[in-house]
Amino acid sequence: MPFIPNLSLKEEMLKEIGLKDIEELFSDIPEEVRIKDLDLPEPLSEEEVVKRLREIARKNRPFPDLLSFLGGGVKPHYVPSAVKHIISRSEFYTSYTPYQPEASQGYLQAMFEYQSVISELTGMDISNCSLYDMSTSLGEAVRMGYRINRRKKVLIPRSISWERKSTLKNYIKGLPVDLVEIEYDRESGKLNLEDLEDKIDGDTLCLYIENPNFFGIFEEDVDEISSIVHERGSILIVGVDLLSLALVKPPGEYGADIVISEGRTYGTPMNMGGSSLGIFACRKEYLRNIPGRIIGLTHDLDGNRAFCMTLQTREQHIRREKATSNICTNEALNALALLVYLSILGSEGLVKIAKKNLENARLLHDRLVSLPWFKPRFKGSFFNEFVLESTQDVFYMNRELLKRNIMGGLPLEVSFPELKNCLLFGITEVYDDKDVDMLIRSIKEVYHV
């Protein structure tokens, strides 16, 4: 039997510890709960399992065989080969949480570097070393906000993904707080500042905004938003696309108190949406309220530089129910992948890719609106996702495109009934003119032009 070397030594080992039968080791398990007939298949060999999985894999249509133009936060990005090679070093991927720092200096240094690059990108003082995903980061950010100011009203944009909203609702179930949604401006697609002014008050815990927002649009008025929030003594939580931060002012510069983001696809593949990487950065004054692990720099007995997990008295293994969060296992390997990805690109590569994303998005946008069936839905400027309104039934179009191995934009009316026949398109640096040509040609085919 593979992976169980002592199976053939069972008798010998039992004898050494004075037992006759393996059953004696299970004598404490009551008969009533014993499995009488184990209903599981016969084991497969490695070769058999590979063959079986090849058959299953054939039922998937991965990018770019299926050319996807879906927005919604997940898009394919190119991952340099070196990233996979480094995170596949088994010293990294088969290790546990670095509870013994002397045996984990490598990972600890890498996580210290991760915290440093996240802090550089977001303009925040500190970062933890990962949460599960961006939506759970939002949940934890609001919970941290509550620990800080004990207020009751949580403001979020109406224009966030339904999955994120639902996750947030669950994360604050245990708190005496209310969620209040701020409308988006129906013309620009940006946050409606009048609605914000109406709803914000002295009991407002926080405002969460996304920049670019779920419709792909930049919230230009961040300075104004920041003043509105801070005048009430509330907390500003900003969700960002990491790549956009190569070109966009970091939230730290416009007064964000907490910054969250999603690291999935920056160094790791889409993986059908998981695994993910919840990024969480904030101002240093909140340090003792942060959820999740933090790595600090220190020294050893001889005065040599060393790293260790720090401020662990915030965490569940020490504080139990008084911990800042229940998180234990996080997304460390994906944090490492992001760090290696950013190290290989450097700021030069990151800026280049961000610009390519902007250009490709304009190319796709302009080509689509040159067709008779699309017009822009919002006026605001966008990063690499945008919303178009179609004169046609978008579900029909998407079904027809699928037959041509294309996924069209994401229909928004499911979550936003007022956005009937609106599609959220997304594109990145991995697409070229030919891909866009193929989409345009296919749409024309659908409408027999």
């Binding site: 070397p5 002592n6 080992m13 510890i17 299970f26 398990i29 009551p30 499995i35 184990l38 209903d39 016969e42 084991p43 894999a57 998937n60 770019p64 879906l70 997940v74 070196a82 090679h85 088994s90 010293e91 290790s95 546990y96 013994q100 720092p101 045996a103 984990s104 200096q105 490598g106 440093s116 690059v117 990108l121 990962s130 939506s135 669950n170 930049f218 190569a246 070109l247 059908m272 949406g273 998981g274 695994s275 790595i295 600090g296 020294h299 060393a306 720090t310 569940q316 293994h317 504080r319 969060s325 998180i327 234990c328 996080n330 460390a332 390997l333 450097g346 700021s347 902007l358 996924m407």
Partner: protein, 477 residues
């Protein structure tokens, strides 16, 4: 004997950088939002980056470096083929919002993995959305809440034994519950009288790990089940220690209503230095309609995502879960099949073998019931009193023997606790070497042990300095 490499590896931003001229200006970014200068991410050549991280990797210890008997963590060998398959582009390059007809393969895997886990645990339905064990616990607590709320019952207390993982009380608290802790008895199991005393019409659930964190099977489980259900509460199973009973007993048959599993422990997916993991949650029928959406169903030969669930708690994260981790666990389970019983038997044999050998050495004390499951907890309190050796010293000295230390100071109810879980994937020679090392340390000059480790890349670390000085990014240096 394993020896770490040791490098004076500078921080990334201190490596020699190439000269660059970067403009962050773009007409497509609104003027008010433009970044004035590029983010300070070092510009390096690929070979510098690879060498940097290669060196860091060599100052890190994983299960492939050697024995890693962290109690309650089930650090077993991670089969390579699982990694390869999960890395196929048919699985990795899938957008979560693609049409479900275009990821039928992955849906089939998740559906079949659910079927396998149902058979292994005796539960009726599973969700793969939790990203880790604690995330699963949190979902479990949300389910408990939703269940009682729908029945119009006001139950706000979660009971937890004093041996529980720290995540249990933390998860209960996060979902808005009050935590009631009960003591263990001299056997190391739940004190039934104490349980009876705290159970009431305020009790929402009892969270239990079985075998518990002392490595002891809760043999009164059916009494516990009756007491908890009679009180109208639910019974929650923390699956961290499922390895011990795979193929032998099932939490579903013990009366548990909710379980979470740790695919990154029991089902051989790597821990990644802290994640990604996966913490699927299984429930009995009465809770099925509360699970997160979507559920994966089979209609004829098609797999579909079903969002129509009357009492769903909604989402606890984006999309469907840590999919690649699920794929690895599925491949592992196909290779193990009905032989998973061997996993339990040998993991328990290995643990009792080590326990017995260490017991015979006479240096350590073994509180509570003698028969252990997949892990055991011993105390070095006597070594502390007689030679001034703490569990921490012993752990650090093991590093000099090229071995990864066990979990220490947990569970909290054992003084100077050392918690060892060898798993089924170590050879007898590995186990003997580990036992010999522990005995040899107990016999060593205590000054040497206390000043260990000396053969690691750094010596013992000043953790208090890190707390005081708050140097958390390279900007702080």
């Amino acid at each position: 004997m394993y020896r770490f490499a040791s490098f004076d590896e500078p921080l990334l931003n201190k490596l020699p950088q190439r000269k660059t001229k970067i403009s962050t200006q773009s007409p497509h970014i609104p003027e008010k939002l433009r970044r004035s200068s590029p983010p300070k991410i070092p510009n390096l050549e690929e070979q510098q980056v690879v060498r940097h991280f290669f060196r860091l990797s060599q100052m890190n210890y994983g299960i492939e470096n050697g024995t890693y008997p962290l109690g309650s963590c089930t650090m077993k060998y991670n089969p390579k083929v699982c990694e390869d398959i999960a890395g196929w582009r048919e699985f990795t390059d899938i957008h979560p919002y693609q049409d479900e007809s275009t990821f039928q393969g992955t849906l089939q895997i998740l559906y079949e993995l659910e079927e396998l886990l149902k058979k292994i645990t005796g539960m009726d339905a599973f969700t793969f959305q939790p990203s880790a064990g604690a995330h699963g616990e949190f979902l479990g607590m949300l389910l408990v809440r939703a269940y009682h709320e729908l029945r119009g019952e006001d139950r706000n207390e979660i009971i937890i034994p004093d041996t529980a993982h720290g995540t249990n009380p933390a998860s209960a608290k996060m979902a808005g519950f009050e935590v009631m802790e009960i003591p263990s008895n001299s056997e190391g199991t739940v004190d039934l009288e104490a349980l009876e005393k705290v159970l009431s019409d305020r009790t929402a659930a009892f969270m239990l790990t079985n075998p518990n964190t002392l490595g002891i099977f809760e043999d009164r489980i059916l009494d516990i089940e009756r007491m908890v259900h009679d009180a109208g509460a639910l019974l929650y199973y923390d699956g961290a220690n499922l390895n011990a009973i795979l193929g032998i007993a099932r939490p579903g048959d013990m009366g548990f209503d909710i379980v979470h599993l740790n695919l990154h422990k029991t089902f051989a997916t790597p821990h990644g230095g802290g994640g990604p993991g996966s913490g699927p949650v299984g429930v009995k029928k009465l809770l099925e309609d509360f699970l997160p959406v979507p559920r994966i169903r089979k209609k004829g030969d098609r797999y579909i995502l079903d969002y129509d669930l009357p009492h769903t708690v909604g989402k606890i994260r984006d999309f469907y879960g840590n999919i690649e981790v699920c794929i690895k666990a599925y491949v592992y389970l196909l290779m193990m099949g009905r032989r998973i019983k061997d996993v339990a038997e040998i993991s328990v044999l290995n643990s009792n073998y080590m326990k017995e050998k260490l017991k015979r050495s006479g240096f350590f004390d073994f509180p509570h019931r003698d028969l252990k499951k997949h892990e055991f907890v011993m105390s070095c309190q006597r070594l502390k009193e007689e030679k001034g050796l703490r569990a921490l010293d012993i752990a650090k000295r093991l590093l000099d023997y090229g071995l990864y230390p066990p979990t220490i100071y947990f569970p909290l109810i054992v003084k100077e606790a050392i918690m060892i879980e060898p798993t089924e994937t170590e050879t007898k020679e590995d186990l003997d070497r580990y036992v010999d090392a522990l005995i040899s340390i107990a016999e060593e000059d205590p000054d040497i042990v206390r000043s260990s480790p000396t053969k690691t890349p750094v010596k013992r670390i000043d953790e208090a300095y890190a707390v005081r000085n708050e140097i958390l990014t390279w900007k702080d240096i």
